[in-house]
Amino acid sequence: MDQDLIIVDDDGILLVILQKMFEKVNPELKIGTFLKGEEALMYILESNFPKPPFLMVDLFLQDISGWEILEKLDEDGRFESKVVLITSSVESGNSAQSSRFKCVSGYYEKPITLEKIRIIDQMIIGNRN
């Protein structure tokens, strides 16, 4: 399946909420979701995407740190400016640290609202074209 967006977050309910939100904003978007960071990373790195999808990654997963994922994605090279980080953390400093990665194009503190979804949707459309 050729996704436009892959969401990685260990919060199952949040995945449902985000999918519903995207459905509202852009029902045509094809979305894949992962609860586990390792699985997601393996899938992403091993897939031969004709067009690499946009990624939405939770910074603090249970099995793997978001930073680790970002490092691997930078190494891979196909995901420059294709990753939006989301986090429930309100810790200062994370945002600045994330900007060191080439793949990161946005950093959003939860809650993710429809407003933020619209902005991210625009980025996804930009990525597709």
Binding site: I17, M21, T87, K110, L114
Partner: protein
């Protein structure tokens, strides 16, 4: 000639009245405020000395008394007259004994036939002064010895060349568990754990080539019972019997370090709590806020009452979010300061 106006209390122990009168006469020539007490035998003299121990400045002692004489007399009198100079009066016949009496504790000796007011006065002044000086010296020695012995911090003195321990104070004995005698059989290496030997040798070397007096190290010491102490040592260079020695003041910081480690552990827990605040607690709240946002977006399906209720949920969620942010900020401040 001007007389010495200082008051003197002199005990003259002399059984020959003629000799006593002469002595009194001679002394009065130089001394204006003379209080002279006469004792004719050892018995009386010892009573007076026992009663007026502090009041008597000097004793003139004839060597042959009816109830005691010679060596025994000098020895016994010096035992009673603690801190009082004793000037022995001898005749030509026992001149030799005069010099021996000095070894027995007398301060001076005079030959009776050579007595004159000037000789007596000089001897009196000289012996009183000398005793005061000796007493001061003893006092100052005692003070320094107390500073060392009664110092609450352990102090160890070692010989620079052999590293042998040459002196310790009481605090060192009670801290390390070795008696003073045991300590004097040991060297510095014996109070270090094996692993610290190299460190010790290096730091002793460093210390002795260094010119500054400001040398402090934190290291580990070994007690007799095998326990290891964290200590802060401050050595100083001293001379003992003209040899270089190190005087090491030891501050046991085992408790302090334990305390610091405990605080560090607590800080670690604090950091964990801060992390939980910042990430874990907020996650379900953020999710709820997302849900409210979704519900609000379906406005057309909500009646007025539900809209109001959703609004209240939103207000409550925002309030809780504010509280969590406050807590996070505070705990972040703590973990940054630590």
């Amino acid at each position: 000639m001007k007389k010495d106006e200082n008051p003197y209390h002199i005990l003259v122990v002399e059984d020959n009245l003629g000799d006593y009168v002469l002595l009194e006469e001679y002394l009065s020539e130089y001394l204006l405020n003379l209080d002279i007490i006469h004792a004719e035998n050892y018995q009386t003299a010892s009573k007076i000395l026992a009663e007026k121990e502090q009041a008597i400045d000097l004793v003139f002692l004839d060597l042959s008394l009816p109830d005691k004489s010679g060596e025994e007399l000098v020895v016994d009198i010096t035992k009673i007259a603690i801190g009082v100079p004793i000037v022995v009066l001898t005749g030509f016949s026992d001149l030799e004994f005069g010099s021996r009496s000095l070894a027995l504790g007398a301060s001076d000796y005079l030959v009776k036939d050579d007595l004159s007011p000037a000789v007596l006065y000089k001897s009196l002044i000289y012996n009183i002064q000398r005793l005061n000086f000796i007493a001061e010296l003893k006092e100052s020695k005692r003070k320094y010895s107390d500073l060392f012995q009664l110092n609450p911090s352990p102090i160890i003195v070692y010989d620079q060349k052999s590293l042998k321990i040459i002196d310790v104070n009481e605090a060192a004995s009670s801290k390390y568990g070795y008696s003073r005698e045991e300590f004097l059989e040991m060297d510095l290496l014996d109070i270090r754990p094996k692993s610290e030997e190299r460190v010790l040798l290096d730091s002793v070397k460093d210390f002795w080539v260094m010119n500054s007096n400001n040398y402090q190290r934190v290291t580990k010491h070994l007690k007799k019972n095998g326990e290891i102490l964290d200590v802060e040592i401050s050595p100083a260079k001293v001379k003992i019997n003209n040899k270089d020695a190190g005087l090491v003041l030891i501050n046991d910081i085992t408790e302090k370090l334990r305390y610091v480690r405990k605080i560090e552990e607590q800080n670690e827990t604090f950091r964990e709590i801060a992390w939980i605040q910042s990430h874990v607690v907020r996650a379900p709240l953020a999710r709820m806020m997302g849900l409210v946002n979704l519900i609000e977006s379906q406005e057309e399906e909500l009646n007025e009452e539900l809209k109001e209720l959703v609004e209240y949920i939103k207000i409550s969620a925002r309030e809780l979010d504010g509280i969590i942010r406050d807590i996070s900020q505070k705990s972040e401040g703590i973990s940054k300061n630590s």
